[in-house]
């Protein structure tokens, strides 16, 4: 197990470093960040002064080295728009995103996993059909459209929930449902097929043949064995929740990391883009690392690969 953990950690460190480089290259390919940010009618003297102050006049390798060095110490430079350190802005928005993503994940676990298990165990029942139809619809419905429909229904027509912003529990309802919808549909389908696969195994037949009650067959033999694919895929998909947060936060004016990224991209505020995109990819990579380690612990065969 130790060798497995060490090799996974080394791989993760490499990926983090390479993605840092990728972010830098991507942002620098776009041309002069200062000119893109500045209004059209600015004077050349001011542009140059701004550039000098932020270090954009140095050769690219120097800028790259400074960027990587700074990033290691958590310094991504100063936001062009807010004149504050970019990482500070990102960290300030982080709790809102974590709250939203956490609530959605919880909703998913409470709704999707039991739905998938019941659909598989009671295959071809009414509940299975209803579940299949709703997961297929859930996967096809774009989150931002679902958001608009919910706002129309619950804010415009019924006036039950606020259209956006962050505040009490009522503000959390629609964004987390929208974010959970797509993810739940995936997880319910994956759970159903994972459980079905296990139910077809010989050891389930054996368990039934030796007279075990259905509760024990499902609870002990089936669920334990189908946990591995569910955990893996749920973990891999968890990262996509961060991508979904970018859209959901924008619709509901939720003051999180996703909305900050969109605004920074629209404003061409590149230090904030660098910090935010890198931070999201870091979280994503760490989630994947956690899943891999959990996977290795659940299924010892994995460690040998």
């Amino acid at each position: 197990m130790r060798a497995y953990v060490v090799s996974r950690l080394a791989q993760t460190a490499l990926v983090v470093f390479l993605s840092l480089t990728a972010v830098f290259v991507m942002v620098r390919l776009s041309g002069d960040p200062v000119l893109l940010f500045m209004p059209m009618d600015i004077q050349a003297k001011d542009v140059n002064e701004f550039r000098q102050r932020l270090g954009f006049n140095d050769p690219l390798p120097v800028q790259y080295a400074r960027f990587v060095g700074g990033a290691m110490r958590g310094d991504f430079g100063e936001s062009l728009r807010y004149r504050r350190d970019a990482l500070g802005l990102v960290l300030e928005r982080l709790p809102a995103t974590l709250l939203l993503a956490g609530t959605s994940l919880l909703l998913t676990l409470v709704v999707a996993v039991p739905l998938g298990v019941v659909s598989a165990v009671r295959r071809d029942s009414v509940l299975d059909h209803v579940g299949t139809i709703s997961t297929v619809l859930g996967q096809a419905t774009p989150g931002f459209w679902l958001g608009l429909l919910l706002i129309y229904l619950f804010s415009v027509q019924l006036r039950w929930l606020p259209t956006g912003g962050m505040g009490g529990l009522a503000h959390l309802v629609m964004p987390s449902v929208v974010l959970a919808a797509f993810y739940s549909a995936r997880i319910a389908r994956l759970t159903r097929s994972a459980v079905l696969e296990v139910l077809g195994e010989d050891y389930i037949l054996t368990a039934r043949a030796k007279g075990l009650g259905e509760g024990r067959v499902i609870g002990k033999h089936t669920l334990r064995n189908s946990a591995i694919p569910i955990v893996t895929l749920a973990g891999l998909e968890a990262g996509q929740v961060l991508g979904g947060a970018v859209i959901t936060e924008t619709i509901f004016a939720w003051p999180g990391l996703g909305r900050l990224t969109v605004q920074a991209l629209l404003n061409r505020d590149f230090p904030v883009v660098l910090a935010a995109v890198f931070f999201i990819s870091l979280m994503y990579t760490l989630i994947n690392l956690a899943v891999d380690l959990l996977y290795g612990w659940l299924d010892p065969r994995v460690r040998l690969r």
């Binding site: 990926v15 774009p142 415009v156």
Partner: protein, 266 residues
């Protein structure tokens, strides 16, 4: 049932896309302030009109054209680029494989939509650039799947036999390995198509991608937010068109996977 619904919805989307100029009674760009914000069912405008008096049905039909064009181009570009790289990496293991898998790892450390949006914000807006951004963010899925398939096909007896008979590597790769991984490429392409269409709409919704006044579903939905209190149809119909297209293509993709390659996980 799933198969027929998938085929029906996909064909409907294709027909609207191809036939948009003939099916639509109005020019999707022509404004008419006397007719602005008419509800569905208004004379001559079955889906109503938007804030500038443009016919919503015409805009949705032309939106289908744009969405399917972008989705189609992206699927073709990613299938060719990702497929070829995956083929080479699986065939010539050693360093091409390692390099490719590192690139794939790095790309997969960004959520797809965030990566496509960031690339799009950087390379610039417009039709060509949205196809470019989606392709740059999406090709890794093919590369990974195809590489995995090639690694397993390579071990089969007929490939080994052809190699033992002295067949050249190029011929072996394109004549024996490629046809056997082709079904996976088709399945991945069909499953990716709807995610590209939805991603394009999301990116245009956020203010990048295709810009108004071009009738793209995403930017139409984005504009509809300002009129949600007075004109629900501006949000309802373009979104429904998008969701039904995605549903149709997803069902078709599921059916293709069940038929061609039931073990494949994407």
């Amino acid at each position: 049932m799933k198969k027929w619904l998938g085929i029906a919805l996909t064909v409907a989307a294709l027909l609207s896309a191809l036939g948009a100029p003939w099916l639509a009674a109005h020019d999707p760009l022509r404004t008419d302030f006397a007719q602005s914000l008419k509800p569905p069912g208004a004379p001559g405008h079955p889906f109503g009109t938007d804030q500038l008096g443009r016919d919503l049905l015409a805009r949705i039909l032309h939106g289908a054209r744009l969405a399917l064009f972008i989705g189609g181009c992206t699927v073709i570009v990613t299938a060719i680029v990702g497929g070829l790289l995956g083929l080479v990496a699986g065939f010539v293991e050693r360093w091409p494989s390692t390099v490719l898998m590192r690139i794939v790892d790095v790309q997969l450390s960004f959520p797809f939509i965030l990566l496509a949006m960031t690339i799009n914000a950087i390379v610039g807006l417009g039709l060509r650039n949205i196809i470019l951004s989606l392709s740059a963010a999406g090709w890794v899925v093919y590369a990974r799947v195809v590489r995995g398939e090639v690694l397993s096909v390579k071990q089969r007896d007929y490939v080994q036999a052809a190699a033992a008979l002295g067949m050249g590597r190029m011929r072996l790769m394109f004549r024996h390995v490629l046809p056997n991984v082709a079904p996976s490429i088709v399945v991945v392409a069909s499953l990716q198509f709807s995610s590209f269409v939805v991603a394009e709409a999301s990116i245009s919704f956020l203010g990048f991608g295709v810009q108004p006044p071009t009738p793209a579903w995403g930017s139409m939905l984005s504009e509809s937010r300002d009129f949600l209190y007075v004109a629900w149809w501006l949000a309802a119909f373009p979104g429904a068109a998008l969701a039904l297209t995605a549903l149709g293509v997803n069902l078709l993709g599921d059916w293709l996977r069940d038929t061609l390659d039931p073990k494949l996980r994407v």
